[in-house]
Symmetry: C2
Subunit: 362 residues, 2 copies
């Protein structure tokens, strides 16, 4: 049920598709690399499986492949970027670079983005800061699938946050998390398998705990991290709200239930208060706080102490945020990226449509 | 079992105790106001109930009431503050003011603090930004009570995060949350009542789910927000870790299992890698991103849309983060602050020891 492709093969295929959509050489390369970082890191739901979704957004004129991305407001440590309806995969790297440049100048940089589209995984953008000895932060809002505590209405996206922190000899600490109990991608896996979801992941249209992974199709909702009030769902809700506000209310993008949907066939919300979807990026230079070498020595100690903690019986080790994704990336760079047959078929059709070939591994 | 006191009466009592401990007039007033904001906002575990704990820290020479608090490193948007072992209740307002001043100059300000002590509730410090039309952020690490996912060792504190965001006609959005499923204060309530805790709050010394609220005394641990792996505890763990690293690894304070304990009778950890406990503060000027009036208009719409969402049957309304605390503050300002008899007795003893009187409401 799976077909394996070399990373390089999917990368150049994706780049070519973006070029066929009208992206410049540079933008196509930027977008393909950002998109495929999801496949490499094992977040399959956000990678090349979404390529045809991006194409449909472009066909529906919701994504602009020749955007004039620009700064519309700034101070020494902040900026607001207008993405001109460009692919988030191109807008986000532009905005993150501004955050990094500002951090070089005044210690930190913070960029809120309006008028954008989906940017892939937050981790890719936050990790850009690492090579500059900076802490990177990335977040985005997304269309409403999540019900706040006590609500039966879906008002928030899965609104992820990533914080990437450099270490010394140890690999970086990379926390990349949706602010829901479970990412939507995990629910999609259960849908395909027709399995049930654990309680605390979703509710039905009455707001009652549900385990049918198809519940979202009939008015149900994903639940904020915590699951229910007794287990702290008001905290997951608050975090998702902060992501929404930093990404969209600070920038002038759409927020809450007004965030444009990713599937191009879903109609746009009415009376939208802003432009496109919103992101938020931050970069903090380590040596704006203390000597980077001292910081890294302490980070190494932090990481080693946690990784060597005594574990619950049956568990091999305590993981450091970013461990599983890094290991997956290493493995897939060598052995290729497995795609579900449905995804491989979808790419094949896309290739035929645009006259671009995708060569499988075997 | 409760005695009610006027806010003003507890405030001047607390101020006088801090003065008797050697604090300057200004510091005593600052510390008392910060501490009592917890009682006003209904976070009783972090308020005046801890006053005798602060006294014991001072008696054990772990808290310095005449600190030389100073900036030891800075850039236009960042600073590291050495709290000189002062009360966190005094060090934190100093550091937050620097964040605000830097935000005035360059758009945002970010301050990491070493060599401090417990600062009360994060909310009080973050909310200082609101009157300047800024977003305020406050976090702190704390001594290890929480086991990371898969660990049976306690390596993290309840490490709270507060984000305070101004609105227009609506009251501010104030998310103030421990990164655990339940705050330690809630567990203390169950301990006093001898009730059981919901699953997902704590584990026993083997890392097995537990419901006995006394489990922490025999090697158990609080659980990160999410509770277990299936419900996203790795996310709560990652958030608590970010708080720990921003507060302590960035500043040169102690982190992870090396954070000094609040109770003065608990011995200090061995081989501490830094100084005292750590905090992290941020201030972002709204108009460093966009016109403050436009932002506030959108925040009002955000808040009204969420507050008026259709609710699950039996729930009155969807709450905005900060609603319950603000309502509690209003109520207690008028009707006084109820203290458990044990707390009232403790304060009476403290008053006798220092020759300071506390007058009850009735």
């Amino acid at each position: 049920m799976e077909q394996v492709f070399e990373y390089g093969a999917i990368l150049s295929f994706t780049e070519n598709i973006f070029k066929e959509m009208g992206c410049s050489e540079t933008d196509a390369a930027t977008a393909a690399k950002a998109l495929l970082s999801a496949d490499l890191r094992g977040i399959d739901s956000h990678g090349v499986a979404r390529l045809s979704g991006y194409v449909r957004l472009w066909e529906a004129k919701r994504a602009n492949t020749k955007p004039h991305i620009r700064v519309i407001h700034e101070t020494p440590s902040t900026a607001v970027v207008d993405g001109d309806s460009g692919l988030g995969l191109v807008v986000a790297p532009f905005a993150m670079q501004i955050a990094i440049d500002k951090a070089k100048n005044v210690g930190t940089g913070w960029v809120s983005v309006q008028h954008s589209n989906h940017f892939g995984i937050a981790g890719y953008h936050a990790m850009k800061a690492l090579e500059h000895d900076m802490i990177g932060i990335a977040m985005t809002n997304a269309s409403a699938l999540v019900a706040p505590t006590f609500s039966i209405e879906r008002l928030l996206g899965t609104n992820p946050i990533c914080v990437a922190i450099p270490a010394g000899e140890e690999p970086a600490f990379v926390a990349d998390l949706a602010t829901t109990t479970a990412a939507n991608g995990k629910l999609e896996i259960l849908q395909r398998k027709n399995s049930t979801a654990p309680t605390g992941w979703i509710q039905d249209k009455y707001g009652k705990p549900a385990t049918n992974p198809h519940e979202l199709k009939s008015g149900g909702a994903l639940l904020p991290l915590g699951g229910d009030r007794e287990h702290g769902s008001h905290k997951g809700y608050a975090l998702a709200a902060v992501v929404d506000i930093f990404s969209a209310v600070l920038s002038g993008a759409n927020y809450g239930p007004w965030v444009p949907p990713f599937p191009a066939y879903v109609p746009m919300p009415e009376n939208m208060p802003g432009k496109g979807i919103g992101h938020f990026f931050g970069a903090m230079r380590i040596d704006a706080f203390r000597e980077a070498l001292d910081f890294k020595k302490n980070m190494d100690q932090w990481i080693r102490r946690f990784r060597s903690a005594k574990t619950v019986e049956g568990e091999e080790r305590v993981l450091i945020p970013g461990d599983p994704e890094r290991e997956m990336e290493k493995e897939r760079m060598i052995n290729g990226i497995p795609l579900l047959q449905a995804v491989a078929d979808d790419l094949k059709n896309l290739g035929e449509k645009f006259g671009v070939e995708l060569i499988s591994h075997v």
